[in-house]
């Protein structure tokens, strides 16, 4: 059998400059965290606990941003039926799940010394937990369904459902005033904390982009390998039939 017979179903990706971008993201994150922790004074009420903001808030932002990537590529898949869109949505969903889990754990670490409890059924916490469970359900669904087309369609539907939850998570602190503070903006945050928060937000964004791109690359390679295996098996079957 010739190599031409096992041309991959999806384009085989190249790493290109992404490893270098990964190093940039890593160094940017280290520098951002050092600068943020070093330059910010203790908060009047929370003291040094305020420093958890530099990891909790950017992680929460990425948890809301990544499902929007899932939404865009899920809708694109439903429209154009390109397998690459499904794989990209799945890669973003996996990264979103990791950030959602991280946000929840960091929130619990912050809640214990400030609220006196690890967990409470506050609207923001509950809606974030629901988002995490939808994303985990998305990944479980992909692991359970073997048929590629059906898996892509069902996961696109769950991906859209997860993204619908994002504005609910964002607005939950205004719609249901419970214990979690409302959103901050540069005019409500002391300038001493804004620079550290901005740097870490960009650092987390770079890390998230790197993770999604490399996970997508792995998914494309896995798919190309599956296709090559199927083509080999098909070729062998055809050879046997001719004998």
């Amino acid at each position: 059998m010739s190599n031409a017979a096992i041309a991959p179903a999806v384009a085989v990706p190249r790493a290109g400059r992404w490893p270098m971008f990964g190093w940039f993201a890593f160094l940017f994150l280290v520098a951002s965290q050092v600068i943020a922790v070093a330059i910010s004074p203790p908060d009047r009420d929370m003291g040094d606990l305020q420093k958890i903001m530099y990891v909790h808030v950017p992680a929460a932002w990425m948890t809301m941003l990544a499902p929007l990537t899932v939404l865009v590529f899920s809708l694109r898949y439903l429209w154009k039926q390109h397998e690459e869109d499904d794989l990209l949505a799945a890669s973003a969903a996996e990264v979103a799940t990791a950030f959602a889990g991280l946000t929840l754990v960091l929130g619990m670490i912050w809640a214990r010394p400030t609220w006196g409890v690890w967990w409470t059924w506050d609207a923001r916490l509950t809606s974030m937990l629901v988002l995490f469970l939808i994303l985990a359900g998305y990944l479980a669904l992909r692991a359970l369904v073997d048929d590629r087309e059906r898996r892509a369609q069902w996961s696109a539907a769950v991906g859209v459902l997860g993204a619908i939850n994002v504005p609910i998570v964002y607005m939950s602190v205004r719609w249901w005033r419970t214990i979690h503070q409302i959103q901050s903006n540069p005019s409500t945050v002391d300038p001493a904390y804004v620079i550290g928060l901005r740097l870490n937000a960009f650092a987390f964004l770079f890390v998230m982009i790197y993770f999604i791109r490399r996970r997508y690359e792995a998914a494309l390679l896995e798919r190309a390998a599956e296709h090559a295996i199927e083509a080999v098996a098909l070729g062998r079957g055809r050879d046997t039939a001719h004998e």
Binding site: L102, L106, R215, L221
Partner: protein, 46 residues
């Protein structure tokens, strides 16, 4: 070190744990997929 720093330290340790853990997961997936693709392509060429 006061108790606040213990929580701050825990938050940063968890963050780096998740980020490094996910980095390892992605790179293992990449290596495994490349090996699989190479072996499948070689099997097809034979």
């Amino acid at each position: 070190m006061n108790e606040n720093w213990m929580f701050v330290g825990a938050a940063f340790v968890v963050t780096w744990g998740v980020l490094v853990g996910y980095f390892v997961h992605v790179h293992r997936s990449l290596r495994r997929a490349r090996t699989l693709l190479d072996s499948a392509t070689n099997a097809g060429a034979q």
